[in-house]
Symmetry: C2
Subunit: 199 residues, 2 copies
């Protein structure tokens, strides 16, 4: 019984986790079935039992990635003070939490998708536009939402590439972004209703 490097209950999860680790450490080009299998403590056959082929593995990695953040964003929405930018604030804070808890490794899998096939990003692009539409319906101007969203995405990428990884710095940027949204909300609705702080 060889203890796999990646702790996970079932093989399926540990394989996905292993794949993310391989990408982070060695780059997407070196994401091979053998490497993932070895890292997950599973044989190649076992890996292919769960994922019919490499593309299936990549797709699985991709579908998990955005869910992690969005699910958490939904969870914290009720805890936030009301306002036209509440959802946007929830996205910022969800990003912070996901980054802080180290659960965002899945992000590097988005880079991986680009490495294998840029067209795999079509759903992400659609989702992005949906967000902007949804958030702007609450009152914030689209260019503003877009700017904040880009900063969040930039943070994702920079952290998943280990370009920016300082925890304190991240907290500062998150606070800055939340502050920007709050300021914009105040600008739009001069009648109080702000000042709430997360946690």
């Amino acid at each position: 019984m060889t203890t796999p490097e990646t702790s996970a209950q079932n093989s399926y999860e540990s394989i996905l986790a292993a794949a993310e680790e391989v990408v982070r450490e060695s780059g997407a080009v070196h994401l091979t079935l053998d490497a993932v299998a070895a890292r997950a403590g599973v044989s190649k056959g076992g890996l292919l039992y769960h994922f019919r082929n490499k593309e299936a593995l990549i797709r699985a990695m991709l579908t998990r990635m955005p869910m992690t953040v969005l699910d958490h964003a939904k969870d914290i929405v009720p805890t936030l003070p009301q306002g036209p930018g509440r959802d946007l604030r929830s996205a910022i804070l969800a990003t912070r939490d996901v980054l802080a808890t180290g659960k965002m490794q899945g992000l590097s899998s988005s880079l991986l998708a680009a490495a294998y096939d840029p067209s795999l990003f079509a759903p992400i692009r659609d989702q992005r536009y949906e967000f902007i539409e949804k958030y702007s319906a609450q009152g914030l101007p689209k260019p503003f939402i877009n700017a904040i969203l880009l900063a969040i995405e930039g943070l994702w990428i920079m952290e998943s590439l280990s370009i920016a990884t300082d925890a304190r710095e991240r907290e500062e940027v998150i606070a800055q972004l939340v502050g920007m949204v709050e300021a914009e909300e105040r600008r739009l609705t001069p009648t109080g209703g702000s000042g709430g702080q997360h946690e």
Copy 2:
């Protein structure tokens, strides 16, 4: 005489351009010497004459990428209204110009670098911190600079992955970001000195 898809005077440039196109269209994983040579209208031997091996090609792609933006940023600094955020504004506007003129394909090569070896990003990380230090010395708070910088980088990435590519949308975001910097400058130095618009 087969007309190469990529128009460029000399082979060296056309090979680099071809490599960027291959990455954009097919993903970094499919960046093969054969594919690049074919795309550049050059034989494989010809390609290897210019780039001893694949790594040399990738390194060449990487070194070009940041220079494009930074060189242009330096050029437009003198045309901008003074203020503690002038350099940051120049970076925003340089990004816009480089994106608009389609010269930023080199950006996808940064993704490529991650695909091959995450450690290739070390110099970029250092450069990033240098920027923040330099810009903050002019008076803007670091978290603010960081937030704007992340948005710029997010825009880079999103465009190079063809996730966000709408020209009008880009203009709006750029204007938004510049506006944010100007507002911050006004907040810091209440004594006039703002209002300048690029072009």
